[in-house]
């Protein structure tokens, strides 16, 4: 035991572990289940950092930020009786998984709403800044904002943004690059917009909050394009992201028309806790209890029906903690937020990988409380998000092999993702070329009255949303040589996506080595929780 303890502590600090002959097998997320796989000797496994310590008193931290904002007067000093205020708040697409109650948005809303009431500001609306995401269900909004705000504001003064409401949107102008800037009318006509943000990854927040969260389809078209995605190196590095640059330009036009007081929060990465806390650990450091917990969970999951497995995961909230809160003008606030965010997520990695392995979990920003992570969302997790989890250089070298673990089932949620079904089954088999898809079909889906109705009054993602999901993977598709999906339960989905299949990870690695050579450098990203690589 005396020899074991120091070794445990040493290993626990390591973010990058090299697989040896006596290394434990590694756990990979595999949709609503896990794979336990022996990795080839010499494989680098990159782990997320341990969660940064949460602030002791979140309420005090938020209040301090409101009273000591960056490049703006304190919030209370900007309030006057009778003024018109709109509070915009991030939707349920983050954090992932959903966080334990109280959601940090509830804490912020309670503080801000109380302050507004104390200063005689009664004309207050709270808008869930969904952009083209689905309308949140009533129960989801209630859970997110908490009972106080729900009772006071729902439904007349607390509602979802509607990007397709012809009377509810207003054109503010164009950027110097000619990008149309549309905004929610209520927000645009307010004396003050207060944006309440959760920053999970560096691509969130900043000008994206108002510029995208409250925009319409015509405005989003300007930057959600295959070209902007290809020119984003990467999404997680705003300085080198064409998408981010476009959003910044749009945000600046918004700032010229409306005063925005930004409140940004940074959460740590405590995605799993309690009985699932072993998922945050290096497998070499598992205790007997951890091993038993994992085996019991795997045994159970293997025997459960799909819907029950999904329900269990969706109903297990994360124990995220607030690690920072900044308020004030958008740019300085976001600069600080990004710095703190990188502190949690970024990991220095020496050299790129020839073969990159990653498991795909059950969740993405676009399927919270949905019935499935549908094939397009699997694609966006692999080639959109996980490929882009880097700064400086991609973790996977150009032409490299990406190995993902997911069943890739042909399952869709018809309530949340109706247009995805048509996109995947009618359009994608015709062409995978994003540029052709954009030109030929995007508007057709966007203006399809059935999809518009489902977006505006149902709970469906906007008709054009599946296109964005496909574009999201465009840079990955252009840079990655081969994508191999491990453990798929059908042949059709990988075929439509243009991916290869392998029955086991060993087979996939052999296929990868046949392209990249016997001495190919193999790396596994061990997430979730999230990690971002700084590749030298």
């Amino acid at each position: 035991m005396r020899a074991f303890k120091p070794r445990y502590r040493e290993r626990a600090r390591e973010q990058i572990v090299t697989i040896d002959t006596d290394s434990a097998p590694r756990i990979l997320f595999y949709g609503e289940n896990f794979l336990l796989e022996d990795l080839p000797v010499g494989t680098r496994v990159i782990y997320p950092k341990r969660p940064l310590t949460g602030v002791v008193n979140p309420v005090a931290t938020i209040r301090y930020a409101l009273n000591h904002p960056l490049d703006m007067d304190p919030l209370h000093a900007q309030l006057e009786p009778g003024m018109k205020v709109t509070i915009a708040v991030d939707d349920i697409s983050l954090p992932l998984p959903i966080m334990r109650r109280p959601d940090v948005r509830e804490t912020m809303l309670d503080i801000v709403c109380e302050m507004l009431a104390d200063h005689g500001v009664d004309d207050v609306h709270i808008i869930v800044a969904t952009s083209l995401h689905r309308r949140m269900h009533d129960r989801e909004i209630r859970r997110m904002v908490g009972e106080n705000v729900w009772r006071e504001y729902w439904p007349d003064r607390l509602y979802n943004h509607d990007a397709c409401d012809p009377d509810g949107m207003v054109v503010l102008g164009k950027t110097r690059h000619g990008e149309l800037v549309e905004m929610n009318r209520r927000a645009a006509e307010s004396d003050l917009v207060i944006y309440i943000n959760i920053n999970l990854v560096p691509m969130d927040g900043g000008h994206k909050s108002v510029g995208v969260g409250l925009c319409g389809y015509e405005s989003l078209k300007a930057h959600h394009t295959p070209r902007a995605i290809v020119d984003s190196d990467s999404f997680m590095d705003p300085k080198n992201s064409a998408l981010s640059h476009s959003v910044e330009r749009i945000g600046r036009v918004c700032d010229q028309h409306v005063k925005v007081f930004h409140i940004e929060t940074v959460l740590n990465n405590r995605a799993f806790s309690g009985p699932l806390d072993f998922l945050m650990k290096n497998e070499d450091d598992f205790t007997e209890a951890d091993r038993l917990k994992f085996e019991a969970m795997k045994w159970t999951l293997d025997r459960m029906p799909y819907a029950a497995r999904r329900e269990i995961f969706m109903r297990t909230p994360a124990a995220y903690e607030l690690i920072a809160c900044y308020a004030g003008a958008t740019d300085p606030v976001h600069e600080k937020t990004l710095a703190r965010s990188y502190e949690q997520y970024s990991i220095d990695v020496a050299g790129q990988a020839d073969i990159l392995i990653t498991g795909i979990p059950y969740i993405s920003p676009y399927n919270v409380n949905s019935k499935a992570l549908n094939p397009l969302l699997v694609q966006v997790m692999a080639l959109g998000y996980y490929y882009h989890m880097y700064r400086n250089r991609p973790l996977l070298k150009d032409g490299g092999v990406l190995i993902i673990a997911h069943p890739c089932s042909d399952k869709f949620d018809p309530v949340h993702h109706p247009s995805y079904i048509e996109f995947f089954n009618r359009i994608l088999p015709e062409t995978r070329d994003s540029y052709v898809l954009e030109k030929k079909y995007q508007d057709e889906f966007a203006y399809n009255p059935s999809y518009v109705e489902m977006y505006r009054r149902g709970n469906a993602y906007h008709g054009a949303h599946p296109f964005y999901m496909w574009y999201w993977g465009q840079r990955g598709r252009e840079k990655v040589g081969r994508v191999i999906a491990v453990g798929t339960d059908n042949k059709t989905v990988p075929d439509i996506l243009g991916w290869e299949r392998a029955d086991s990870l060993a087979e996939a690695v052999a296929m990868g080595r046949s392209t990249m050579g016997r001495s190919a450098q193999i790396t596994m990203m061990h997430h979730p929780p999230i990690l971002i690589t700084d590749v030298s």
């Binding site: 018809p414 009618r426 399809n448 999809y451 489902m454 149902g458």
Partner: protein, 226 residues
């Protein structure tokens, strides 16, 4: 904002169960109990009630058979009275039963540039007030034959329902320069499969189990308007 994308498109809506939560049996019952004499009203109502199992069976086999059987109940009713009662029927029965999101769907479709057409197995005088209320461009409905101002109990050709809806839509498309591949059809019932299959964008609305299953199989969107 460039919303009028669909210049040569139309949206065809089935009515009963799709846009409103009543069917032709409800409407007939309304007419039946408002006969000139109490005896006649009781007779019509009783006949309707006793025929319900027969109607149910006929509808399962063929919508055409169902309609032929059902519209015999109108035999002997006065045309003037039916037209007058239709206004009353709309105000008292139909308008409160319009699904909350029906108008919104039609509004979205109109904004997209589509021509709005109701196509229903209901009778024309029953459908007219609804068509005016929803401000649609056209409506296509069954017509009763009248002799000396009284209904014969037979439908005028062409009969609207089941497979014939598809033919009528094709004919309508030719007449109005509508591209059916760029058009929409909305229905709640599997019996309307032909009208859904003839357009490029079929949508199942409040579908019955069979249509819901078909919609899933063919990847058609499913819309619930209530």
């Amino acid at each position: 904002m460039a919303r009028s994308k669909y210049k040569n498109s139309a949206a065809f809506y089935d009515v009963d169960g799709t846009l409103i939560s009543i069917n032709i049996v409800h409407t007939f019952t309304f007419y039946a109990i408002r006969q000139a004499s109490l005896v006649e009203a009781a007779r019509k109502w009783g006949t309707t009630a006793m025929s319900l199992p027969l109607f149910w069976a006929a509808d399962k086999i063929s919508r055409k058979w169902f309609n032929e059987l059902f519209y015999r109940l109108y035999e002997g009713m006065s045309e003037d009275r039916l037209v007058t009662l239709a206004e009353e029927l709309f105000e008292e029965v139909i308008e409160p039963k319009i699904y909350p999101r029906s108008r919104a769907l039609i509004e979205e479709s109109r904004r997209a540039g589509c021509r709005q057409v109701l196509i229903s197995g209901a009778l024309d005088f029953t459908l007219r007030p609804l068509a005016e209320y929803l401000e649609v461009d056209d409506f296509i409905a069954n017509r009763l034959e009248f002799h000396d101002g009284y209904a014969t109990g037979k439908l005028a050709k062409p009969f609207v329902g089941g497979a014939t809806k598809a033919n009528i839509m094709r004919h309508y498309a030719r007449q109005h320069d509508v591209d059916l591949t760029e058009s929409w059809a909305y229905s709640d019932s599997y019996s309307d499969f032909p009208m859904l299959a003839v357009v490029g964008h079929p949508t199942a609305v409040n579908p019955d189990l069979r249509l819901r299953s078909v919609a899933r199989s063919y990847d058609w969107p499913v819309l619930d308007l209530y």
